[in-house]
Amino acid sequence: MTLAPSRDSVLPDRITNASLRSFLGGVGTVDEVMTHRRVAELATRSIKKDSKRAALLTAVRMMDLTTLEGRDTPGKVRQLAAKAIRPIPGDPTIPSTAAVCVYPNLVPVAAEAVAGTGVRVASVATYFPSGQLGTPEKVAEVEHVVSLGADEIDMVIDRGAFLRGDYLAVFDEIRRIKDACGDLHLKVILETGELASYDDVRRASMLAMAAGGDFIKTSTGKISPAATREVTLVMLKAIADFADATGVQVGMKPAGGIRTAKDAIRYLVILNETLGAGWMTPEWFRFGASSLLNDVLMQIRWLDTGRYQDPDHFTEA
């Protein structure tokens, strides 16, 4: 028997808090000790030469080059966009990043700057980073951001509701925001640094995927810890189980705290050995990062020349 892909296939017929609780009770658990052991084992993968170059170029293509500061200006965003389009001025062998990620106010500036280049504009919404407002206001914000010309929306879940067990509130909010996004890609931030356990991360991942998230994302970057490799492995395994159960492919975005090329390669190793080729593209995996790009570029230059260039040779975004 073959079924068409459908997120509903894992959901109860009647969505209530009780039925969602029982759905999440059945998604299985995570063992912390073995998760850490697996991540430590994969960290010993030794990635050299051509496989390292391939990984670094892939990491550039997967990057959501991000600036999320109160002091961001149109000038800074235009600079960021230029860096995203052509990471090393005058070197067309270095690909563009996947997207730039900015606050709503700066979406029109970013959209104009990247127009026609293939680089997408992602914007955080839903009263990022805390999400401390009602669902109607969040939906209204998302509708506004969509009208400003964003291609992708990064929302945060209501952690308060999740932690007190009001799964229906979290689920319903994600659904309404996905409706407001229309065809735009919705990334759902779980803010794993505020969730209590890997079991919670797994449940939140399943809830976000069942509710309609196109991507699940670790963190806002405003809470510590942000992305970790362990949390990422837990989420990738949830994505695998969700794909097996529903046929629906969901993407992954670790964000926050990923600063070095070595880090990025370790994430890609985990991805490669957990979900494989089908996810190894910017369509299904993103890095949310601001300072990672230059370290990756520096490593690519090192592979090219055998020398480390002075950081001043790499432009600030």
Partner: protein, 502 residues
């Protein structure tokens, strides 16, 4: 050897859409650990009374690299005369130097040896991998650090033995004859030598025929550490050398790790003597996976339990008992994970499964796998490119295995997992215990009370819960039933080398 890469579709309803296709198409470039720091002599003599000696027989045998079949060196064959000289040297050292020495002084030597192992860890790891075929990742991250940890741990006991067993004044036994296997050559040497020396005994050790090189390297460490002559002696050779050693009349203690068949012969041979004996023999460990377990993590544990060191592990979890309700899902997950195992050059830092230790072992594995197919079990092997030379075996799963199949009963000592199902905890315990062996078991469930219930009923020297293959020098290790007796490691391990007067 069969190479059936087809995954049998066992799930009742598959959806179209996203599929997980492993291994990914990002290939890691070879990342080979250099063997340059290692120097291997053309020929090794016997290490007796602190010096290198020619074998009385004048005979030598080659030791090869099982991943290339190239000869690495020639090793002396010790005969009865050599064994006699080694035991005599150990006896003298025991009576004149090591026995009378204070625990504090013995500890200094052990600490020194532990530090020297750490300092030269990379050399030892490379040598271990070249001579035995295990992945460098394992020799570097597991075998050698654990060996150093055993010397550190026992160094700590050397001057505290009177506190280990309050009210008892324990005494050393004398000369210990130790025979070790080829699966963890350097680590088993540490498990044997560290407690023997800490408790004041002297040692004659025989490494396995196919893996003598790291033991010979250890001899040079003893020499550089200034260990008094005769405290540690090494005799190399095959089974005959070992038989001569354990039956030597002037030996006080015999410690053997290896096959159950040989262990039985040694026990028979020692009957009626005053020699103290400990045996660490074969196993057919069971993983028991309940339907409430963290499945992906259980998959990791099961994979580690059987493919670690190519399955050449006495406590390997070589049988998987999986609760019937999750069988299909769990097997699918296992197959997917198997596809990511990297089999090949043991010196490549990314290799997960290295070479089979010897042609003889490869033949044994092949024979048992053929019996599994003939008995009607269903075989699964991922697609795998194996090197042309050397001894290799593709990681293998068997489903539809019955308790009466040879692959469910006999120790395969290779990368082969037999999968059975159970319905309730009682049946799981019955099946797990239905083997002559009793070395290890793994229980996978989120329910704490069930872990305790199972651990009480499983006849196994070690029961791991929600993990597998975790070792620590402070934790005793040993078997039930035909897996042997006596413990190694921890306070219990000291008893094997001490006369407590009880």
């Amino acid at each position: 050897m069969q190479d059936t890469s087809k995954v049998t579709d066992t799930t009742p309803a598959k959806t179209t859409g996203a599929t997980i296709d492993l291994p990914g198409d990002w290939r890691y470039a070879p990342s080979r650990q250099s063997s340059a720091p290692v120097t291997i002599a053309d020929r090794y003599g016997l290490f007796i009374n602190g010096g290198w000696q020619r074998p009385a027989s004048g005979e030598w045998f080659p030791t090869i690299n099982p991943s290339t079949e190239e000869t690495l060196s020639e090793i002396a064959v010790a005969d009865g005369a050599d064994v006699g000289r080694a035991v005599k040297a150990a006896r003298n050292a025991y009576e004149e130097v090591w026995g009378p020495m204070s625990g504090t002084e013995r500890a200094k030597y052990l600490f020194r040896i532990a530090r020297m192992i750490q300092e030269r860890a990379r050399e030892i790891a490379v040598l271990e991998t070249m001579d035995g075929g295990k992945p460098i990742r394992e020799s570097r991250d597991f075998d050698i650090p654990q060996a150093a940890a055993h010397f550190f741990y026992h160094a700590g006991w050397a001057d505290k033995l009177e506190y280990a067993f309050p009210g008892i004044d324990p005494k050393p036994l004398g000369v210990a004859a130790q025979v070790i296997p080829w699966n963890f050559p350097f680590l088993m040497l540490a498990w044997k030598i560290a407690p023997a020396l800490a408790t004041g005994n002297t040692v004659v050790l025989k490494p396995a025929e196919t893996t003598s090189l790291t033991a010979l390297f250890f001899a040079s460490i003893c020499d550089e550490a200034g260990l008094p002559p005769g405290v540690v002696n090494l005799v190399t050779g095959a089974g005959e050398t070992g038989a001569g050693l354990v039956s030597h009349p002037d030996v006080d203690k015999v410690a053997f790790t290896g096959s159950t068949a040989v262990g039985k012969r040694i026990q028979a041979d020692l009957a009626g003597t005053s020699k103290k004996l400990t045996l660490e023999l074969g196993g057919k460990g069971a993983h028991i996976v309940f339907d409430d377990a963290a499945l992906d993590d259980a998959v990791e544990g099961v994979v580690n339990g059987i493919f670690f060191n190519q399955g050449h592990v006495c406590c390997a979890g070589s049988r998987l008992l999986v609760q019937e309700t999750i069988h299909d899902r769990f097997v699918d997950k296992l197959k997917r994970r198997l596809a990511t195992l990297r089999v090949g050059d043991p010196l490549d830092k990314n290799t997960d499964v290295g070479a089979i230790n010897s042609r003889a072992q490869l033949d044994k594995i092949t024979d048992l796998v053929e019996s599994g197919v003939a008995d009607g079990a269903e075989i699964f092997q991922p697609r795998c490119d194996l090197p042309e030379r050397g001894f290799w075996f593709v990681p293998t799963l068997f489903t539809d295995v019955s308790q009466s199949h040879r692959i469910a009963q006999e120790e395969i000592f290779g990368p082969v997992l037999s999968i059975l199902t159970f319905r309730d905890p009682e049946e799981a315990v019955t099946k797990a215990n239905n083997t002559p062996y009793g070395l290890s078991a793994g229980v996978w469930t989120q329910k704490g009370s069930r872990i305790l219930w199972m651990a009480d009923r499983l006849d196994a020297g070690v029961v791991w819960a929600n993990t597998f293959n975790q070792f620590d020098p402070a934790s005793p290790f040993g078997g039930y039933k035909e897996s042997g007796f006596g413990r190694e490691g921890g306070r219990h391990g000291l008893l094997a080398y001490m006369d407590t007067g009880i």
